[in-house]
């Protein structure tokens, strides 16, 4: 894989996140810290999962069910971790509000809270892209490239970068949806996020079949784009109803 192709794959997987980072997050140091912490949390969850699954790997059979169980346990664990992240975020929000009161600055706006959630989600997405895609890509510079039998339409690295892009989108925006759902107590939002994560994970199982990626990847993108659309709609709704509710003498 030549250097040019390698850089192309990296930008494919991480380009939109880089754009989000440069425009939204790099100007606010606190969001950079949130991003780093959520990346670390995702890494820790991966390490715990891999520690748990160490005894069962490598999976020798080509049957579907061991992989399905692997994905199921991983998604369940990570969604549980998201709840814990929410609790931590609530505590931090209280501390930040108290701090803002003391230095006579306004409390956290709604947009601030959403930006924190976005930074957290982006951290998860970047961690996914880095460990699942970049980790295998960066040592592979040099002559020749690698194709997988089951999906020989494109080099392995290209396919993994495309899948990672979809997952980055899913992770980033589902965090916004989830935090909003917990804040408002909206059950639909709260349940939709684990469901989307699970569906996306299970869709990658389709890749196990020969030439399955032709079907699996477009469906994955359908899921990613619908997450994006749902998040956009929800944010728009939330912002407009906050605007309507606020009268000049209120905060």
């Amino acid at each position: 894989m030549t250097l040019g192709a390698g850089i192309g794959y990296v930008l494919l997987a991480l380009g939109p996140s880089l754009a989000l980072f440069v425009t939204l997050i790099s100007t606010k140091p606190f969001l950079i810290l949130i991003l780093l912490s959520s990346t670390l949390v995702w890494l820790i969850s991966l390490i715990v999962l891999s520690g748990f699954w160490k005894v069962f790997l490598p999976i020798k059979t080509t049957a579907l069910w061991p992989y399905a169980i692997l994905i199921l346990t991983s998604v369940v664990f990570q969604e549980g971790l998201r709840l814990i992240l929410w609790r931590g975020y609530k505590k931090m929000e209280d501390m930040l509000d108290a701090f803002a009161d003391r230095v006579a600055k306004p409390r956290l706006y709604l947009t601030d809270k959403m930006q924190i959630a976005l930074a957290g989600g982006l951290g998860h997405g970047v961690a996914h892209a880095v460990f699942f895609c970049l980790g295998l890509l960066t040592p592979s510079f040099g002559p020749a490239t690698f194709y997988v039998d089951k999906c020989s339409y494109a080099p392995f690295f290209l396919i993994s970068a495309i899948i990672s892009l979809a997952f980055v989108t899913i992770h980033t925006f589902s965090m916004v949806i989830a935090f909003n759902g917990y804040a408002q107590g909206n059950k639909t939002d709260q349940l939709i996020v684990p469901a989307v994560h699970l569906i996306a994970g299970m869709l990658t199982l389709v890749n196990l079949a020969s030439s399955g990626c032709v079907v699996g990847i477009p469906l994955l993108y359908v899921v990613a784009l619908s997450t994006l659309a749902y998040c956009g709609k929800m944010v728009w709704r939330r912002l407009t109803e906050t605007q309507i509710r606020l009268t000049p003498q209120n905060q």
């Binding site: 606190f30 810290l33 701090f99 600055k105 956290l108 895609c133 996306a200």
Partner: protein, 405 residues
């Protein structure tokens, strides 16, 4: 919300000091990883490295794991012993007020690092990239670069950006040379140095603690290689007290501690590579200036109930200082991880940043000089081992089947 002007929220400025110290650490680590991957000459060069760190035992590829481990422990013990001796020597010199000697010595070692180590690494880079340059031009450029570096760090008031860049460059060069040590020795040395740091700073008889107390009692600066982050100027409304700062013991109490391993008296600048390798690696220790982080504070009202928030370092304003030794050892850890695989690099990077954040939080909580090595290095080593043992197989299994979550 005010239609005319929405006041900026706290999110704009919170945590800025931490980012200002994390950025150069990240740049240093990133540069060392790039150097390690581009140069990639660990087999041919390491055989000619004879330093203090390998004096007890030279690792060969044919030894068993247990032998390597024992040899590594011996090496680290020797290294830590030498470092301790020299730090006590430094305390003695400082006690007898030989500070100008120390300053000139610092300048001299910066010259050696930038000139000789930097020159040699430059030659490697030229070899790898087949860049066409003749040796006279190269020497001229190198000489100018080195002299500006020495001046920037010690003699004159330079723009802070230049000083900071030269600090990072010295850190990168020294860390790269450390990564040439054999593998087991490097890892055990990292752990040994972090334990030493813990002991030297916190124990009552530790050399670094003595140095700090001497400096505080005399209200002087210790001559040291220390990276200082640019202080944060609060924008916006200056009439209101924006930030709570806490009061330190002394106005300008310096928590700076230095770890100087000034071993060689015989370092004449010698040109052949072997002796450069040996003599400059002996010098290396003194550049490992230590972990001192100190927050310089302005006096303001101290409210005890604020301490909870200040406890995570969010409320301070002032410059955070991090010793160059921390930069070097963090980068050595990440550079070593890069020699194995990039996944370990990412994991160790996150671990070190997390450790640094925890140390800064502890610093804000305890408000005294703290060692920055132990938490980060221990976390880094832990994550390296965990990634290598568990994570890699899991990820490769999942990814190669295009199975992701």
């Amino acid at each position: 919300m005010d239609q005319n002007q929405t006041p900026t929220s706290i999110l704009h400025s919170l945590g800025e000091e931490i980012i200002r110290i994390i950025t150069p650490v990240s740049i240093c680590m990133f540069s060392v990883v790039i150097l390690v991957t581009v140069l990639d000459t660990d087999s041919s060069i390491s055989s000619s490295i004879s330093t203090i760190a390998t004096i007890a035992y030279t690792e060969t590829a044919s030894d068993s794991d247990w032998d390597k481990f024992k040899g590594a422990i011996l090496n680290s013990l020797v290294f830590v012993a030498v470092v301790t001796l020299v730090t006590f020597l430094l305390v003695l010199l400082f006690y007898f007020r030989c500070t100008s000697f120390l300053k000139y010595y610092m300048g001299f070692s910066a010259f050696l690092v930038l000139g000789f180590m930097g020159g040699e690494i430059g030659v490697f880079l030229i070899q790898v990239s087949r860049f066409g340059i003749d040796c006279f031009s190269y020497l001229l450029l190198l000489f100018n670069f080195t002299i500006v570096g020495v001046l920037a760090i010690f003699m004159m008031k330079f723009p802070i950006f230049v000083t900071q860049s030269y600090m990072v460059v010295i850190g990168v060069l020294t860390a790269y040379w450390f990564t040439m040590l054999p593998e087991w020795t490097t890892w055990v040395l990292l752990v040994a140095m972090s334990l030493y740091d813990l002991a030297a700073v916190l124990l009552p008889g530790g050399p670094l603690r003595l140095l700090v107390e001497l400096a505080i009692s005399r209200d002087e600066d210790i001559p040291a290689l220390v990276y200082e982050a640019r202080p944060v100027i609060s924008h916006g409304n200056h009439t209101i007290v924006q930030r709570r700062v806490w009061r330190d013991r002394e106005r300008d109490s310096d928590g700076d501690r230095n770890r100087h391993v000034s071993l060689e008296s015989q370092t004449g600048p010698q040109i052949d590579p072997e002796s450069i390798g040996s003599s400059s690696s002996q010098n290396v220790g003194e550049l490992s200036a230590p972990l001192i982080e100190r927050v310089r504070v302005r006096e303001h009202e101290l409210e005890p109930e604020n301490l909870a928030l200040e406890g995570i370092g969010l409320g301070s304003s002032g410059a955070i200082k991090l010793g160059l030794g921390d930069f070097i050892f963090y980068s050595v850890l990440v550079g070593r991880a890069a020699m194995y695989d990039f996944m370990t690099v990412y994991a160790c990077y996150l671990a070190i940043i997390a450790g640094l954040g925890i140390t800064l939080a502890l610093l804000a909580l305890y408000q005294k000089a703290l060692p920055a090595l132990p938490v980060s290095v221990m976390l880094g080593v832990l994550f390296y081992v965990l990634t290598r043992v568990f994570l890699e197989e899991f990820i490769v299994q999942c990814s190669s089947n295009l199975l992701m979550f």
